[in-house]
């Protein structure tokens, strides 16, 4: 992958008061948010929160009951050259099993007025040039995801909408996808990635839009949502350590299970203070799980289809350990 970034003109996604009802069921409920160019935005929420319906309304596939969803200020259906404006990968099963992946792309390329050479370029880029000559019925999930991504990129679009793109990818594939999306956003593309797993995207995205029950729960820059960095410490006498830390001008408060949450990232300082106070340290670590806790706080108990992927393993304690653990989160 080259890093020569050709900047493209930015195109914003704007969702305004968007509502969709199916009978008495409100799938999307007065939802408003924006997605900025040159950034990767995570579109998060539990399964059934209305993510896919929102994406389908953005793409003109589902008609909103009210409100608007525009890309670069226009309805998808009014775009002059849709494949050059928006690329999307919605579901990994959208292939005719008797047609090869390459031919699937050729069908789309014809509709977008693109040459077959562009098809082969995208197959190279997504790493499936040989496999794409087999019929799509034989493809693995990871292969389908890559083919879907190749389809989305065919027209070199300014905006990418990807629905759960890492589903079915192995850890290596997820790492590849992350780098790939970074590269694309560095070109100024607008990227919206939906996921029901925060851990999966928190290393990738710049902004998040979190929805539950079709309503907006929170949106903003990842850094704003994370909260101030802090340290977790566990000792034999928490109250004495709080006092000793206060003397050192560091605020601390009791957390869960006798933990102390210390408002600093300086673990060495915390350790030195404890030593001077003659207190043992049983545990000392960075507190990184704020965002995930926030996510569950915001969306817990609101899931309309109970029993889906709301459970995930405990958050990793070290940020560096995440890349090795991703696969286990599937």
């Amino acid at each position: 992958m080259t890093t020569t970034a050709q900047r493209t003109d930015g195109a914003r996604i704007e969702v305004r008061d968007l509502t969709k009802t199916f009978g008495s069921f409100t799938a999307v409920d007065h939802l408003s948010f924006e997605v900025e160019p040159g950034r990767i935005t995570g579109f998060l929420g539990p399964n059934g929160a209305g993510k896919t319906t929102t994406l389908r309304m953005l793409l003109g596939l589902v008609r909103p009951t009210s409100g608007t969803a525009t890309i670069d200020g226009r309805d998808y259906r009014d775009l002059e050259n849709p494949s050059a404006t928006v690329g999307s990968a919605l579901e990994s099963t959208n292939f005719h099993p008797g047609r090869s992946g390459r031919d699937h792309l050729r069908v789309l390329a014809a509709a977008g007025g693109l040459p077959d050479s562009r098809v082969d370029e995208m197959l190279e880029l997504t790493g499936i040039p040989a496999a794409a000559r087999k019929r799509a019925g034989e493809y693995s999930m990871g292969m389908r995801q890559r083919l879907g991504l190749a389809a989305a990129l065919l027209g070199d679009p300014r905006v990418l909408l990807l629905d759960e793109p890492s589903n079915g990818l192995d850890p290596e594939g997820i790492r590849w996808l992350r780098g790939f999306l970074r590269h694309l956003s560095s070109q100024g593309k607008t990227i919206l990635v939906s996921s029901h797993q925060l851990q999966e995207v928190q290393q990738t995205v710049d902004d998040v839009v979190i929805i539950a029950n079709g309503r907006l729960v929170r949106s903003g820059a990842m850094s704003d949502l994370r909260g101030a960095p802090s340290t977790i410490v566990r000792t034999s006498d928490p109250d004495r350590l709080v006092g000793a830390l206060r003397v050192a001008d560091v605020m601390a408060a009791a957390g869960d299970d006798g933990e102390l949450v210390v408002e600093t990232t300086d673990k060495r300082l915390v350790g030195d203070v404890a030593l001077r106070a003659g207190l043992p340290i049983w545990e000392l670590r960075d507190r990184k799980a704020d965002l995930e806790e926030l996510f569950f706080d915001l969306t817990e108990g609101t899931n309309r289809n109970l029993g889906d992927g709301a459970t995930s393993p405990p958050p990793p304690t070290e940020r560096d350990a995440v890349s090795g653990q991703e696969g286990a989160n599937e």
Binding site: Y76, E91, H96, A111
Partner: protein, 266 residues
């Protein structure tokens, strides 16, 4: 528009269905032409079962021979039409189709043009078989294989008929989104129910006037073949048959397009 049409043709030619259908329609054309070429030029004593004698001039006999496989052919094209939309629903490729061509009327018009085209192509393949075999058989039976230029009109109209049946299939495929059900119902009605109903109604004085307007009878009128003596059905003139069949095709594909444009694709 041209891009969307090219995309539809690529859909047809990138799965294995098309050459299976091509072989089928070629073989049907050849076999039926050979068989009818033999039967229609044989002496007809009326048969032991007392079946009605077939009536027709030299041109009508030749027309019948060359288009003998049309009944099978239009069922195959009906199926092609159903599949052109039905497989998109079934495999959810309709999403990709409408993303690539978000103006849905345009996407559906592209399907209409492609199906008319493919009807013509399959018609030519069918005629390749039926005219070759039919002409040989007729020549062997000492019958002029090209008694008049009207035969050419019949051949051309048989291509149109196949394209129109494909459009009827497109409408059926949209009305019945389950592809397998659509094929069973579509072929069942066109092959069995409609001809039987036509036959039954032709004996009912109050209803027999509508029978020539049935799709299969309109198709037969277009190619102007031999008729069964004593038949109750007065076929329409060839041009009226063409108009009637075109009306069925237009109505069904237009209704299908209207439904598709309004549909939520999820």
């Amino acid at each position: 528009m041209g891009a969307a049409i090219r995309s539809e043709f690529r859909k047809i030619f990138t799965t294995r269905l098309w050459w299976g259908m091509a072989i089928g329609i070629f073989v049907a054309g050849a076999l039926f032409a050979g068989f009818f070429g033999w039967v229609l030029t044989s002496d007809q004593p009326g048969g032991p079962g007392g079946g009605p004698a077939l009536e027709g001039d030299a041109t009508q006999v030749v027309n019948s021979v060359y288009t003998a496989g049309l009944g099978v052919g239009y069922l195959l094209l009906l199926t092609m039409g159903i599949l052109q939309i039905g497989s998109e629903y079934r495999h959810k490729t309709i999403t990709a189709t409408f993303l690539a061509t978000p103006k849905r009327v345009r996407a559906m018009l592209a399907k209409v043009v492609a199906l008319l085209g493919i009807g013509g192509v399959y018609g030519l393949i069918s005629l390749l078989g039926s005219v070759a075999v039919g002409a040989i058989v007729l020549t062997l039976r000492d019958v002029d294989p090209f008694p008049s230029t009207e035969v050419l009109r019949t051949l051309a109209l048989s291509l149109l008929a196949l394209g129109l049946w494909a459009l009827i299939g497109l409408g059926v495929g949209i009305l019945i989104p389950n592809q397998v059900a659509a094929i069973l119902v579509g072929v069942g009605v066109a092959w069995i129910v409609e001809p039987l109903l036509g036959l039954g109604l032709s004996y009912v004085d109050a209803a027999k006037d509508v029978v020539p307007y049935f799709p299969s009878n309109a198709t037969n009128a277009m190619v102007n073949g031999v008729t069964q003596g004593g038949s109750q059905v007065d076929y329409l003139p060839w041009w009226a048959g063409a108009l009637v069949l075109a009306a069925y095709a237009a109505a069904l594909s237009a209704f299908g397009t209207w439904r598709t444009v309004r549909q939520d694709i999820s």
